[in-house]
Amino acid sequence: MNPAELTHTIVFYGLALVSIVAALLVVTVKRIFRAAVALATVLVCGAGFYILLDYDFIAGIQLLVYVGGIVILIVFAVMLTSSLEDTEIRPSKSRKALGIISSLGFLATALIAFQSTSFPLSAPTPEQPSDVALEIGRKLLGYGSDGYVLPFEIISLLLLSAVIGAIVVARNPLKKSSDLSGQSEQSDGSAT
Amino acid sequence: MGYIDTKKSTKAKVTTVGNTPINVVIAPRSPSGADSESLLTTIFKSVKSLFVGMKVTIGYLVRPSTVVTQQYPENRETLKMFDRFRGQLRLIKDENNYMNCNGCNFCEIACPNGSIVITDQRNPVNEKLELERFLWRLDSCTFCNACLQACPHDALEWSDGFEAAVYDRRLLVYTLNDYAGPPVKAINRAKKKEDRVEELLATMEPRKQYGGPVPLAGRKMPGVPALETENTKDNASPKHK
């Protein structure tokens, strides 16, 4: 095992350990804000995994969108709907058992399936496109047989409608919009 | 526009509140308001105003002469206070060290928080009332200038001195007059008449800066040496006691 491979392995197992522990914290911690921090850890580890897989661009996007956007939105949701002293009530025993059984069942099934399947692996060191970001851009806007321009447009429509829908839903119906100008998170459509 | 220009106002109507008719003038819209301007003009003007502000501040930055900070303990010798600075109250004295104050009590009456206490005595030579002791309490003074405005004899002024830090609050009670005795007017009048001047001047007895009756009802403070006092309990005790 050469040093580069050794580093790769160590980093993989280290990140995996951190991210599994953090993921367990996300689903079990009683204080919801701490769960959000754990979620941020999982997602950062995810970016690390993508770098290990040589998808630096996706890792950057993961950090940008997940940590810079989604986690902050979730933190906002926590701030707006609970206080520091609030702790979540433990789920009932039956619900917990159901959750454990179903998730472990899924895990076991999937692992058995993976073990028994022989995937058509590509060559050990096949060539990766030199510039992943450039290639992704070509794919996203390509309208040939391997292009994704239609999904891309649909995603942008989805984002737009999500933004507008969020504004409409989050607006306080009891107040007129002119009264909201003093509130930072609700004025001028900044609810996104 | 902070005022209503009645000439320009085109609308005026009368409304009644109860039975009282009230003239209501509807103020015209400000001609420089945003409504009468195009958006571009507004943007241009506001951006320009930003640059005006930045020009002012860079002007201060590049001209060290605009700095107003005084490096106080270092420049103690050359420090010059400003004309209107109110440091400590002082009695105006002429070159012979005679003062204008005749103890008329106007300043004491004018003082809003009783920082000035004046005691008078009758001069044995000309039987006139004159200043015996002018007490000024810096610790309760608000430097409001009411005493200077009230003084009919132009006897008070503000000095530059601002270094009044002491370890004992009692030291903030000053006797402003250097002597108890006739004001400069009385002396000059006596000089003109050649009328017992020497005798009049002989009635002046010196006063020390901290020589007044001890405030705080004469209590002693631990660790502070007792003030030097005169035995003037009978006739010179302050009025508020």
Partner: protein, 368 residues
């Protein structure tokens, strides 16, 4: 040697991570040494730069306001920052009774980590850069998220209403202005055709983008400066810590070392924003070049690249300080209106204009 210096190819990029990777194959200890140098160097640079910036800010602020600023400790108060740091270290470390102690402890760490992560990819000179990521521009706007996460954590875990309000303002402000910053970064990415910071610098060999991209570059620069000032929570956009309304905002409950972390991160972030602005719009360490005038360019090359970078960054830092000490603080609704009704449309139009310019090669010196 001289001929080498006088040609553009003299700018060979060699980052610390490159050196470490090269050394890893032959001598792991050398690689470890480079890693240690990168870590220690970044740490030392961070603290020294923070103290220097705080001193400069105080001096500049004082002279903008007809004052002198710190004058007592050292010559013209040069050692004031060190004295302040010593004072902060000695202060009692207070954690509020009802605070969420774990998160309270984590918040400043998040802030400083974001700062360090952003600092390591700034190209300060051809040979002075810790890591040269090929997604540099995305990375730098991504790690900004950690910083604001730290602020949100601080506000929440303090269990104090002022902190919470300040943190929520910071979050709203960051998310809003992040869009404008990204839009103006995208303009330069379009012009330079790369996300890698060193390549963006090298794409400005014939001239800096702010004048090569003429109107588009200038507009993007102003949008970038305004919105990054807002992202840094610096006045006139300092609503998250508006003293007169929220006492100290998100760091109301912090004291001593933890507070100094926030303070340091704030000033280093100002440096990072300025360095990024210098790199993207003023060519980073690239000397002032005009395409075609080789003699002029080689004269300009005599000034070392590090000095060019320092000078440009210092200029933008000064610009930010100038703005800070001139304008009054905005209201929350004015802040949001500025972003959503003005900067955002301007940014989008500018991006379209940039795309058009790149397609038609209307910018100066489109050769190469």
């Amino acid at each position: 040697m001289l001929e080498n210096l006088l040609t553009h190819s003299a700018f060979e990029i060699l980052t610390l991570s490159d050196r470490a990777a090269q050394a890893l194959a032959e001598n792991p200890w050398e690689a470890a040494g480079y890693t240690l140098l990168a870590l220690g160097g970044t740490g030392a640079f961070l603290s020294l730069l923070g103290m220097a910036l705080i001193y400069v800010e105080r001096k500049v602020a004082a002279h903008f306001q007809c004052r002198l600023g710190p004058m007592r400790v050292g010559w013209h108060g040069m050692l004031q920052s060190i004295a302040d740091a010593l004072k902060l270290l000695q202060k009692e470390d207070i954690i509020p009774e009802k605070a969420d102690k774990l998160l309270f402890f984590l918040a400043p760490v998040f802030s400083i980590i974001a700062t360090v992560l952003a600092l390591i990819i700034i190209p300060m000179s051809p040979s002075l850069q810790v890591v040269d990521l090929n997604i540099g521009v995305i990375f730098i706007s991504a790690v900004g998220g950690f910083g604001v996460l730290g602020i949100l954590l601080a506000g929440w875990s303090s269990n104090n209403k002022w902190s919470l309000l300040g943190a929520m303002r910071a979050g709203a402000q960051f998310i809003s202005y992040e869009i404008s910053v990204t839009l103006s970064l995208l303009v330069i990415t379009l012009l330079a055709g790369s996300l890698q910071l060193s390549e963006i610098v090298q794409s400005q060999q014939d001239g800096w983008w702010i004048w090569r991209g003429h109107i588009v570059g200038v507009v993007a620069f102003f949008v970038f400066i305004i919105s990054s000032t807002a992202e840094l929570n610096r006045p006139p956009f300092d609503l998250p810590e508006a003293e007169s309304e929220l006492t100290g905002g998100f760091h109301t409950e912090y004291s001593g070392l933890r507070f100094s972390f926030f303070f340091l991160a704030e000033f280093i972030n100002m440096f990072i924003a300025s360095a990024l602005g210098a790199t993207l719009f003023f060519g980073g360490w690239m000397p002032f070049h005009i395409g075609g005038f080789e003699t002029f360019n080689s004269i300009m090359d005599l000034i070392p690249p590090g000095l060019w970078f320092a000078g440009k960054t210092a200029f933008i830092v000064f610009l930010m300080m100038w703005v800070r000490w001139t304008f009054p603080r905005l209201r929350v609704d004015q802040l949001m209106r500025l972003e959503w009704k003005f900067l955002l449309p301007v940014g989008f139009i500018n991006l379209f204009a940039a795309a058009t310019i790149v397609l038609t090669k209307l910018y100066f010196f489109p050769g190469q």
